[in-house]
Symmetry: C2
Subunit: 435 residues, 2 copies
Amino acid sequence: MKTRFSLQTLIGCENIRAPVSEVLKYCNSRRLAVVPQGGNTGLVGGSVPVFDEVIINVGSMKQVISFDKVSGVLVCEAGCILENLVSFLDNQGFIMPLDLGAKGSCQIGGNVSTNAGGLRLVRYGSLHGTVLGIEAVLANGDVLDMLGTLRKDNTGYDLKHLFIGSEGSLGIVTKISILTPPKLSSVNLAFLACKDYSSCQKLLFEAKRYLGEILSAFEFLDNESLNLALNHLEGVRNPLPPAMHNFYVLIETTGSDESYDKEKLEAFLLRSMEGGLISDGVIAQDINQASSFWHIREGVPEALMKAGAVYKYDLSLPVETMYNLVEEMRTKLGNSAKVIGYGHLGDGNLHLNISTPQYDDAILAQIEPFVYEWTSKQRGSISAEHGLGLMKANKIFYSKSHETVQLMASIKKLMDPHGILNPYKVLPHSIVSYS
Amino acid sequence: MKTRFSLQTLIGCENIRAPVSEVLKYCNSRRLAVVPQGGNTGLVGGSVPVFDEVIINVGSMKQVISFDKVSGVLVCEAGCILENLVSFLDNQGFIMPLDLGAKGSCQIGGNVSTNAGGLRLVRYGSLHGTVLGIEAVLANGDVLDMLGTLRKDNTGYDLKHLFIGSEGSLGIVTKISILTPPKLSSVNLAFLACKDYSSCQKLLFEAKRYLGEILSAFEFLDNESLNLALNHLEGVRNPLPPAMHNFYVLIETTGSDESYDKEKLEAFLLRSMEGGLISDGVIAQDINQASSFWHIREGVPEALMKAGAVYKYDLSLPVETMYNLVEEMRTKLGNSAKVIGYGHLGDGNLHLNISTPQYDDAILAQIEPFVYEWTSKQRGSISAEHGLGLMKANKIFYSKSHETVQLMASIKKLMDPHGILNPYKVLPHSIVSYS
């Protein structure tokens, strides 16, 4: 048990960069554990204290440091809220390479520390590709200046990647440099129905090839997901009434030519309809309709919360077999729970959610470790984009080999010898022990 | 001095995966230094032995293990030659996300280990984004299976990034999983002339915005570079005779619609010509003409070799100030050398080359450390895509802070405690010392 420690005086300083370093130096010397915290929107308990850790919230570090219109490189502090960066860039004619439901409160430092995925990954790739540099403070207070703004830099080991996705357990990210794509003028969104999962999959294959360079999102939800959204979210209407279909797909295109892009999307949809891949569909006629379509997809987690208890799994799986898991879960659970599947089909990322009136250990015992074992057999990931945090730290071996986790633990010990940074998170308790 | 050790019997085995592990285990236990070697096409001496290191050449590990047409994920052994992978994928309707002049002999393991950049980075990003998994053998012979094929996997630290670009000094990459983009049918290439560097820069800004999603390469070369190619390469003709211009730009577009893409490129070029950004230009009419344009750009290094001695620098710099360095170098060296500048303008990557009849220490003294200091002042990189290898290991501090290099050295020591992996490379001698 560690003693709680008031950091008020330090955190109150105007220049917050020095303080993070000072706070860590102080905590490290006194073996006080800390939890780095951004917008606190994570789903796996990565940014909340477990016992008596000191919270280091970087929310007041919210300055844009620079933006270069030629290269599209944005440099900013870790506490910038994603949506504020989106607005800032919009005025400059650029966009952020990531977009997620929590954008109104999540912070870029947290996004980087958790390697947030989201809706645009299929187009712009992961943060390992778009983050060009970071400044991070190590456990002992040393500031690592790796805040480069270069697309190419092969001078030594690229250590910034250690901080991307390590959930604050190797250091606290304080500044970020990120490559932002130009804002393209033409965005189209289609809400489509498919009769079966196999059609969704074929549609994805065709979309990648036919829509090619303008494809910017390919999301799917099943019948149960749409039902939940219709029943629990205010103002949501079925975009394709009256019938309910088995699967729904959202395809977004982003390009630089409005009439050409729309024509291309329409031709693709016509072709897919003739080929039997799509049963029905509609293209958003304006930005409001597009928002309402996105609201359905992005609102599923909220609908789930309103529906009762929910067991959430964020899995990467081979696209071919992904939906089998949802079906197997349904067979297993019968009428005792609603099993829904939705997510980022374009990235092979399934959000499997199991909704019950209340939490029930008997149901949990039917879900776990089944879901993890199933995923592991497919060489999938038991955490695609959410991270391991507190809740899944001990599940790491379902997706990573013992040798690999051992090396992670050695690096953790090297960089944080007293284990003060976000303890009990990410790595399994069995492998990380401190004196 | 270490004893040379014959590995003939081990390397001769059919299944080469076990042997890399066995070889390293053996060498590690006996403190025998090794040099991992792929196609040996590097430019900084990263894959050649310095004293009596054992060479571990992975050239016989050249199997494609799997290819998934839905996800576009290729899994293969490290010794696959890049061009062979390009051909393999071409038959499947896909392309490699990287392309470089040495493709005929460089190997994918070497590409990954050196984080090779090349011509397509502006479109498909760096290998940190496209490599999804690797298998690597550690110094002690442990095999790290991180050969995932998932686009998203946030389970623990993403350790594969340590092996991407660390030039075999932390482990030997034996297998790779990489995301390959679909092959799009329409590729266009324009060879353009600009009156000054500022026009090249503005053209880049406009191209990113106007050509947007179809832009796939933006390369530049100066007058001196073209002259060299014309004088020293066989069968090269000036694409824009008769006048010589100050700068030349190659713009490539890749898209899915031939007529639309060409129309778009033509409209962009017309606009840029009217706006005074381009003085002259030609669009390749067929694949042969496109090859001949690429031959000029890709042939500059060969022309330099034929012209005499050459001092080569591969720098990342802010696009705005990049060419100032070439001009300052010219002023400094006067008539004693030819200074040429070319490279990947779209990525902010300048290849500065200084050509002299023979090597001359007096000239070298005028170039170095000036070039490194200049680059460092701009927060540039003294090795954009070539790596540090043997030749630039001691220059790392021009681009990385002492704290960062110190952490690199600690990680090196953790992962390779006896320093057997590619010694004298990447990290400065002052900071890595072994008993």
